[in-house]
Symmetry: C2
DNA sequence: TTGTATGCGTTATCAA
DNA sequence: TTGATAACGCATACAA
């Protein structure tokens, strides 16, 4: 066990005061070049590393970012969080932060978790995933002035908010999101381009921001192509079996769609079971399904079975989250090589980034 | 922003000294009951929570456990880490610890990460996943007396270790693992029970501890049933395409197997593509594949497509990891309601837990 | 530009 | 059983 090397050790070795060492660390520009070099040399020679606990006690900042790890929901989409987390950890490290995990069975208890986490650990910020309508978590954190960023837009219903009277409009907060409507539109447009005219949609029931957004991408694309989406969509909770049932229902109609766009890979996987497979067709080993199916999230399942799917730039989204947090935490005096990612440079408010997903075309569509 | 409530605030309110408050927190038994109650009341009335940073500075312990989040490897198996992480976070919270994430592109740089993490954050312990032969990370941590537990057995080659001379035998460390051989044996035995006699195996090339372990479960089971496994196994790196190729090769033989056991869901998914599907058979909609295929890990993919697979008790494994760490960190004076999980109570060494996986039977086999 | 003194909130040592 | 005092490592106001 090596001797503990503190700022005093470094100071002795570099024959300066502790304060000078501290200055080299926190405000290098005010130290004379020669001294600075000597101190730096001592630092690396001794392998000195600042003690976070002591620093935190003094500054009140922990350089810790908390993010909730959810229980794997339906399973198929679980890896999305996984990839996001990895990106987040990597980006945080680069910015000098660390990621701390916490769990909560639901949003209500999540707020309770904030309280104890903040009390004990002086967390610098939170990353919230999966925003809901009028998210109570965002409100709680805003109210207490706790920095946070959400991966997911705030899906506040403007009408409802307005009806609350007063200035109930939630103050804007930094967020990063992926344009789901755009992704679904890409998928739909590609189907149109390849000749499909009757394109169905299987998505989640109305009410979830994410789901409604994705559905609109499909409907709007059809409309701008002069097609009527009416009757061509089905609502189903996320899940394999639900997707299969919805697709079956869609295909049972008088004029069944020749392609189905789904709001998730889980639904798409189910839908794939419902469409007549290549084996049932007369032709031999043509792997192309007569009914094209596309999913959303480009999960490992999609990669494995050759499902065309919309891929979210998760690593980039995570990096944006960290950037936005760093903007707030480090007082905007960052500005490294990351480039400006603000989607709306005109607005003076907090950064809000909407990323564009990409379509990964595979055999299924 | 509520006033900062420290141990001094509590002391004032309870009209005791700060030390007494500290005692109530850390050594309740030495405080008179009446005083203790008064202090406890003040604590909850004020909503006091101990400041981790200050505590850490004094005790040198952070109550932080670090675990590496790997980049999603081949994808399909990614969710395993996800579920393990969730279990770990939950168990750690219950034991009063927190989980901190870090990344590293490979094992070599992972050791570098230890160094800086330990220097800056005074981490209490590490959880290592995916142990390798003669794991350098374990050696490094052992040498520096850093507490850690591995999820995965140490796969040290006894012969090689011995040949190094000296006492090169690595000192044992706490580990938790799932008995892969047992899991594959369960799958194989079930196939035998359902009448299969020619059962193939598709696994990873010899050399990986995990892979060899799983293969042995298959081979041993066949042998104890009086069958000869020779020629019935194929080695392939993990992956969908690799699994398909290996299975195809296996099925191309003169006497092709009627069932294939795979070392992973990725391989199994590939193998499924290689076997004649139900659609190719004469009979109608019998969903049962003529060639049974089983996977390993019970990933979401398996759940979605109905692949029989071996399921690891990840939440339990994670809980065991935390228990073992707590044993070390809290000096063995734990012993809550978790029950003794030591697999070898006779050995005085560090706890080592081998858990039994379970077979999830679905349509594919 | 560099050095000195002080305090962050907690726990450990020791005396009362 | 309780209370006073010191110390953990760092950063900051202030003096030199």
């Amino acid at each position: 066990m090596a001797e503990k090397v503190t700022i005093a050790t470094v100071a002795r070795r570099a024959r300066v005061s502790r304060q000078t060492v501290s200055n080299v660390l926190n405000a290098p520009h005010i130290v004379r070049e020669e001294t600075r070099e000597r101190v730096r040399e001592a630092i690396s020679a001794l392998g000195y590393r600042a003690n976070q606990a002591a620093r935190q006690m003094r500054t009140g900042r922990s350089r810790l970012i908390a993010v909730r790890i959810e229980p794997t929901r339906d399973g198929v989409n679980g890896s999305v969080l996984d990839r996001f987390l990895h990106g987040l950890t990597e980006a945080a490290e680069a910015a000098g932060y660390r990621v701390m995990l916490y769990t909560a069975p639901d949003s209500r208890s999540e707020i309770g978790a904030y309280d104890s986490l903040l009390g004990a650990y002086d967390l610098d910020a939170f990353v919230l995933t999966g925003t809901e309508h009028d998210d109570a978590r965002a409100a709680w954190l805003t109210e207490r002035n706790v920095p946070f960023v959400t991966f997911g837009r705030p899906w506040d219903d403007p009408a409802q908010t307005r009806s609350l009277g007063r200035a109930a409009v939630p103050s804007p907060h930094p967020w990063v999101d992926v344009n789901g409507a755009d992704g679904v539109a890409q998928a739909t447009r590609r189907l149109l381009d390849t000749g499909h005219r009757r394109i169905g949609f299987v998505g989640w029931p109305t009410g979830s921001g994410v789901g409604d957004d994705r559905r609109s991408g499909w409907a709007d694309t059809l409309r701008s192509a002069g097609l009527d989406p009416t009757g061509l969509d089905r609502a189903a909770p996320d899940g394999f079996a639900q997707g299969e049932a919805a697709a079956r229902d869609l295909l049972a109609g008088a004029e069944p769609p020749t392609a189905i766009v789904c709001a998730s890979d889980s639904l798409a996987l189910g839908a794939l079971q419902a469409v007549p497979g290549p084996g049932d067709s007369a032709a031999g080993s043509d792997h192309r399904s007569p009914v094209a199916v596309t999913g959303f999230d480009d999960t490992p399942v999609a990669q494995a079975i050759g499902l065309t799917s919309v891929s979210q730039p998760l690593a980039q989204a995570a990096a944006c989250c960290v950037d936005l947090l760093a903007d707030v935490l480090d007082g905007g005096r960052r500005g490294g090589p990351v480039g400006s990612r603000r989607s709306d440079p005109a607005a003076g408010g907090p950064g809000q980034v909407l990323l564009r997903p990409s379509l990964v075309v595979r055999q299924s569509g």
